[in-house]
C-alpha cells in the first residue's frame, strides 16, 4: 500500500502529539473489536477462530497424538501459515518460534505425560487467512483461545508401564476429557499471549492499524504470561515503517507498563469468550 507524503505527515504528526490522536480515534491502549469463537472444528482437540474488524482472520487447530516421549525432541509442534507469505519468511519463522518457545516454557511439566513411555504430542496449526496489519496479535490471541479450549481424552489404562509395556487406552466418553494443563484442583492453565505495539516518536500504540504501522518507527513485541508477568522476548520488530534505528530505553519501560495495564483486560475478555463457548456446547 502506498501513501502520499501529505498523508504520511498528517498521520505521523497526529500520532506524535503529546496526547496522540489515532486515525480512528482510539486511545493508545485500545484494541479494535474482535470476533472470536472456540471449538468450532469437530475433529480437532481444540480450535479457535478470530476475526478483526479490518478483515483479518486467523484459525487455529490443536490436535494431540500419542507418541513415545523418548523419541520426540519436542512435545509441541507449531506450524504457522500466513496466506500469501512464504513459509520461510522472517515473519512466519519469528511467529512460530516465539509461540513455540513460550508455550513450551509455560506448559506445566506433566500436562502431556500419559505413562512412563507414552505422552501426548500437540500439533498446533495456525492459519492466517488474511491480515492487513501485523499478524502477531491475531495469531497469538487465536492460539491462546485454541489452547484454552483444547481437551484431552481420559486415560483408562495403567499409567505405570516402565516394566510391562502397555498400549494406552482412552475413555470413549468425551465428557470425561480434561482441559489441557488442568490440574487436580481443576484450575485451568493459561498460555501466554503476545502483543505488538507500534512506536511513533515518544508514543506507543497497541493493535496498530495498517496506516499506523506504515508511519511507525518500529514495533515492540512483548509477551504476557497469564500469571501476570511481562515475559521474553521483548524485542523490536519491523512493521514496514521506513524509519529504523535505535529506540529510547524509556520506550521499553513505557511498553512494559502499557502491557501491564492492557494485558489483564485482554486475558479477561478472551477467557469470557472461552467460557461462553464451552457453556453453549456442553
Amino acid at each position: 500500500m502506498k501513501f502520499s507524503p501529505a498523508e504520511i505527515s498528517y498521520l505521523r504528526n497526529s500520532l506524535e502529539l503529546p496526547s496522540p490522536i489515532r486515525p480512528d480515534g482510539r486511545s493508545s491502549q485500545q484494541y479494535r473489536p474482535l470476533e472470536a469463537t472456540t471449538d468450532f472444528l469437530p475433529t480437532a482437540n481444540g480450535s479457535a477462530r478470530v476475526r478483526t474488524s479490518d478483515g483479518g482472520e486467523c484459525i487455529v487447530g490443536v490436535k494431540a497424538r500419542v507418541v513415545k516421549a523418548a523419541s520426540e525432541s519436542s512435545l509441541i509442534n507449531i506450524d504457522v501459515d500466513i496466506a500469501g507469505v512464504r513459509d520461510d519468511s522472517s515473519a512466519v519463522v519469528l511467529l512460530s518460534s516465539t509461540l513455540q518457545t513460550a508455550i513450551q516454557a509455560s506448559l506445566p511439566e506433566n500436562a502431556l505425560k500419559l505413562t512412563d513411555v507414552y505422552s501426548f504430542k500437540l500439533f498446533i496449526d495456525a492459519l492466517v487467512i488474511s491480515q492487513p496489519s501485523n499478524p502477531f496479535n491475531i495469531t497469538s490471541l487465536a492460539t491462546y483461545l485454541a489452547l484454552k479450549s483444547t481437551r484431552l481424552p481420559k486415560l483408562v489404562s495403567a499409567t505405570d508401564d516402565a516394566e510391562a509395556a502397555e498400549i494406552p487406552v482412552f475413555d470413549d466418553d468425551w465428557d470425561q476429557s480434561t482441559f489441557l494443563g488442568q490440574d487436580e484442583t481443576r484450575q485451568k492453565w493459561s498460555p501466554p499471549i503476545f502483543t505488538v505495539m507500534a512506536v511513533v516518536g515518544n508514543n506507543l500504540f497497541v493493535d496498530p492499524s495498517v496506516e499506523e504501522e506504515f508511519v511507525s518507527d518500529a514495533g515492540i513485541l512483548a509477551g504476557w504470561s497469564a500469571d501476570g508477568k511481562v515475559i521474553a522476548p521483548i524485542r523490536i520488530i519491523d512493521l514496514g515503517g521506513k524509519r529504523n534505528g535505535g529506540l529510547k530505553s524509556t520506550l521499553i519501560y513505557k511498553a512494559y507498563s502499557l502491557l501491564q495495564s492492557t494485558a489483564p483486560d485482554v486475558i479477561e475478555a478472551l477467557n469470557a469468550i472461552g467460557d461462553q463457548d464451552s457453556l453453549s456446547i456442553f
Partner: protein
C-alpha cells in the same frame, strides 16, 4: 471505556441445533425445491414476460425468455436466446432495454463523476490513477493545471518534470472527462476544485454506498471539508480558503491569481488537534454507516456526527454496538 471487546460472531452458534431437527429440515427443504421447480414449469407454460417475482436476481438466473428485450449490462444469453443475469443485483428496465444493476462491485466510472484517486504510475505524458474501478484511469499531462495557473501548451520540459507535480502514491481529486471504449476513464483536474490533496486523511468505502449527487464536496461542522468521491474514496481535510470547498467560485479569468504556486505541494499546513479529532470522528462515523450498509450523503453524515457527540471519546465509535446505535439514529432521522 474498555481496552478490548471480543464478541462471538452472530449466528455462529445458531447452526448447533438439535440434530433431529436438522434432519427434518433437510427433508422438508428437499421437497420444497421440487415443489418450486414444478411451479416454475407451470409458469413457463403460461409464459410470463419477466420471470422473477421480485426484481432481485442472482448470477445465472433466468430473467426472461422473451426476445423483445434488448440485453443491457449485467445480462447474457446462450444459444436458446433467453436472457440470464450475470451479476447479483436488481433489474432495471428503460423502454425495451433490460439490464441488471449489481448490488455491490467495483466502481464503474461515468462522465462527470467527481472522484478521488491515487497515482499508481507516471508514464509518457500521462499518469495512471487508481480509482477503484476495473482499470486504472488515465490523467493526461494536458488535463492538469500548472502551478501558478499559467495557461499554455504543455512542453517537453513539463513532460520531464511530471513527478514534481504528481508522483506515485499521491492523492488527487478529479472529474471523469471521458470514457474509453473498454470502460477506462480519462480524468481532468482543470478547475481549482480539483487537484492534489493535502491537510487530511484518506479512507476507502464501497462505491455502492455513495449516492451520485450534484455536489460531492461538503463543508462539515467542525471546520472539516469532505470530498466524498463517487468511486468510494473519501478525503477528510482541514477547511482552507484554497481547499476544495473554498474554490467554488473561481472563474477561469481569475485562475492565475487564485492558483498558488503551492497547488502541488506535499507540505501540510498547521492542523490543530481539535480538527484532527473531528476528522477521526467523521471517519469513524463513515465507518459506522458502512458497517450497517447505509448509503452516505451530507445530511446523514452530519446526523451521524451529531449523534456521535454523545460519546465523548471518538475511540468509542469503533465498537460494533455503538456503530449500530449511530446507524439506527441516522436511519430514524432520514
Amino acid at each position: 471505556m474498555g481496552v478490548i471487546s471480543i464478541t462471538v460472531p452472530q449466528g455462529a452458534r445458531a447452526e448447533v441445533a438439535n440434530e433431529e431437527d436438522l434432519i427434518y429440515e433437510d427433508a422438508d427443504s428437499d421437497s420444497d425445491v421440487e415443489m418450486r421447480e414444478f411451479n416454475d414449469n407451470e409458469e413457463e407454460n403460461i409464459g410470463g414476460s419477466l420471470y422473477v417475482a421480485n426484481d432481485l436476481v442472482t448470477p445465472g438466473e433466468l430473467v426472461t425468455e422473451e426476445t423483445v428485450w434488448m440485453r443491457g449490462h449485467g445480462t447474457y444469453t446462450t444459444v436458446n436466446d433467453k436472457t440470464y443475469s450475470s451479476v447479483a443485483g436488481t433489474i432495471t428496465k428503460v423502454n425495451k432495454l433490460l439490464s441488471v444493476t449489481p448490488i455491490r462491485g467495483r466502481y464503474s466510472p461515468e462522465i462527470g463523476d467527481h472522484i478521488v484517486g491515487r497515482i499508481t504510475e507516471v508514464g509518457q505524458k500521462r499518469w495512471k490513477v487508481d480509482i477503484g474501478a476495473k482499470q486504472d484511469a488515465v490523467l493526461m499531462l494536458g488535463s492538469i493545471n500548472l502551478p501558478g495557473g499559467i495557461l499554455r501548451r504543455k512542453s517537453e520540459s513539463d513532460e520531464l518534470q511530471m513527478r514534481q507535480f504528481l508522483k506515485e502514491g499521491d492523492l488527487l481529486n478529479a472529474e471523469v472527462q471521458a470514457l474509453f471504449s473498454d470502460g477506462a476513464a480519462s480524468l481532468h483536474t482543470r478547475s481549482l476544485r480539483y487537484g492534489k490533496l493535502r491537510n487530511g486523511y484518506f479512507l476507502s468505502i464501497p462505491a455502492s454506498l455513495v449516492i451520485r449527487q450534484k455536489n460531492h464536496v461538503y463543508r462539515l461542522p467542525g471546520n472539516v471539508d469532505l470530498i466524498l468521491g463517487v468511486n468510494g474514496y473519501v478525503w477528510l481535510s482541514k477547511r482552507t480558503s484554497t481547499g476544495p470547498s473554498g474554490a467554488d467560485n473561481v472563474t477561469i479569468t481569475r485562475l492565475e491569481e487564485e492558483a498558488g504556486l503551492e497547488i502541488y505541494s506535499d507540505k501540510n499546513e498547521e492542523i490543530p488537534g481539535s480538527i484532527r479529532e473531528a476528522i477521526a470522528r467523521y471517519s469513524n462515523c463513515i465507518r459506522a454507516l458502512v458497517y450497517k450498509e447505509v448509503g452516505i450523503n451530507e445530511s446523514r453524515l452530519i446526523t451521524a456526527y451529531e449523534a456521535s457527540l454523545v460519546y465523548e471519546n471518538a475511540g468509542e465509535l469503533v465498537d460494533n454496538e455503538v456503530k449500530d446505535a449511530i446507524a439506527a439514529e441516522v436511519i430514524a432521522e432520514s
